[in-house]
Subunit: 332 residues, 2 copies
DNA sequence: TTGAAAGCGCTAACAA
DNA sequence: TTGTTAGCGCTTTCAA
């Protein structure tokens, strides 16, 4: 076990006191040029790298932030959505000295750990994704002394600091597009209504139809999964056989719905037009290619990280809502 | 800034010495039942949570492992492959006290940081993914005092500890399947040949054809990306217009290749049979659905984590190769 | 501009 | 079975 080079060794080698060496390392003032140079030479001669743990203990700063994903589904992270968020987060953290700790709070253990982080400052900041329903963690996070930024908004309250996509606006855009292309019996398949995104997309659908003076009561309920999309579509078809378009709150569900529609002998977009949400890679490859609402997922991650950095720096950033846009393909 | 509850406070409250309290916390022996109870009560009364940083400094163990992804492409993590690996890794780490730190070493800064971790033990262990070519990090990692397990094998050497999928076997399986279904002019589109997986899949293709006594010289070179698959297919079509099957080293490339084949008026699998590799979600949704080689990605992550834990515990685990299997769909 | 010294909160060796 | 004590490697007053 190779012992590490300590600050004392650097100081000795450079012939200065440890405090002087420390000042140089953290380039603080009050050090003469001569000593500064001597220390720097010693550092590179010895290959000195500060011990992060010791520094953390002394400064009471951890040097790490947590990206937490709270969900009951252990597979969440396999969702390309989160992977992209993580990429965005990482890209801004890479410019700093902060480490990125991943905390998937899917099991009770994970939850507990996240709670402890929040209560006892085991991290300099936390980014919290995917709160559904009245997740108690969300409340705890909002009240914690640790800086927290939310990704997406929980339904039970509006956090002080969050970054979200304009889900409502995106859903309106999609639904308005269906109206403009001449559809009049427009249904929707919702996502989980206990998640902010699910609810917001549903509201956007309602708004658009209300403004067009159309009936917004053709609704099937899903949970964002492909399978639930299929089920909801079957039910819609049974209850509203006259529908001529569907706004589906996720691409996965849209894929399930398209399958059911084809099986029922309906053509897309001839008989029924479809618009999805998220613009996952798959959307380009369905048959026909899926029109969908695209959200800037990486930016979401980047902005969350930036906001957290601002918070840690003692600033008071304002919440951010990122724009979504409609991507027209052949399914509508 | 709420101050944290210290061990001293617990000790005082319980009326015992700090060392006794410490022993209870780490449930070490040599504490009477009475004191043990007293301490436990104090802990829950005060809501004491040990300070991880202080503990790390005292024990010289960091309490965290890093999952490092070394690549020149900042988007790597958006690849569903890594997301799944991460899910697997997390699932076993969740059972331990170890944190999971994510280190995407795409930029120079990231690389440097990873180097420092390796050199100066800023983590208790490292899992290293996606080494391509003669990445110097790989060598450094292999020689590091820090326990390291590789995910996949670099081409330049065989690490002491690694988990890999049976890429070669999978490629053989796929190619043999093409032979068995009566194809005789079988081409391949390779992945990056400076990655272990790319090379192994190519070798598997060669082996299978050699054993069948067929010509293995219809080869197009790609880099795993969809676009490169398309280009390679175009070139293959130009050079070997008689081909009747293609083993493609990744599903993404297979998708690109299928597009080109269709544009060229070839039917799939009528004129040309296709088999991909990886079994990404997309493979189920192509037209026709893509036959492919499936590898247990989450298991890969889980086994990497398990192996690292073993290493940290001072054991000497043996490398692991996880089986792959052929998934037959309509493209072959 | 400099250095001595007192922590940060915990663990572990040692003595009692 | 107990408690005392000396660190872990760094930062940061404070006095010189």
């Amino acid at each position: 076990m190779k012992r590490q080079v300590t600050l004392d060794e650097v100081a000795e080698r450079a012939g200065v006191s440890r405090s002087a060496a420390s000042r140089v390392i953290n380039n603080a003032p009050h050090v003469s040029k001569a000593k500064r140079d001597a220390v720097q030479r010693a550092v590179s001669d010895l290959g000195y790298v500060p011990n992060a743990t010791a520094r953390a203990l002394a400064t009471q700063q951890v040097g790490a932030v947590v990206l937490a994903i709270s969900s009951d589904n252990p597979q969440v992270f396999a969702d390309p959505f989160f992977a992209e968020v993580a990429t965005g987060v990482n890209s801004v953290l890479e410019e700093t000295e902060l480490e990125l700790v991943l905390q998937l709070a899917t099991t009770t253990r994970g939850q507990t750990r996240l709670e402890q982080v929040l209560r006892t400052r085991q991290a300099d900041g936390v980014m919290l994704m995917s709160m559904h329903g009245d997740d108690p963690i969300a409340q705890l996070a909002e009240e914690s002394d640790v800086p927290v930024v939310f990704g997406g908004t929980p339904i039970s309250f509006e956090p002080r600091y969050y970054v979200d996509a304009d889900n409502r606006g995106g859903a309106r855009l999609a639904t308005e597009h269906l109206v403009e292309t001449g559809r009049s019996r427009i249904a929707t398949i919702t996502g989980r209504m206990d998640e902010g995104a699910g609810m917001a997309r549903y509201k956007g659908y309602q708004e658009a139809l209300a403004m067009a003076g159309l009936d917004a009561r053709r609704v099937g309920y899903g949970d964002f999964s492909e399978e639930s999309g299929g089920r909801a579509m079957e039910q819609l078809l049974a209850e509203h056989p006259d529908l001529d378009a569907v706004f589906v709150a996720s691409d996965q569900m849209a894929i399930g719905a398209m399958r059911v529609l084809k099986d029922a002998g309906r053509t897309i977009p001839g008989d029924v037009a479809i618009v999805g949400f998220n613009d996952v890679a798959l959307a380009r490859h369905t048959e026909p290619p899926l029109s969908t609402v695209s959200q800037p997922i990486q930016s979401l991650g980047r902005e969350m990280a930036r906001m957290l950095l601002a918070l840690i720096a003692g600033e008071s950033p304002t919440p951010l809502i990122l724009p979504t846009r409609l991507v027209k393909r052949q399914s509508s």
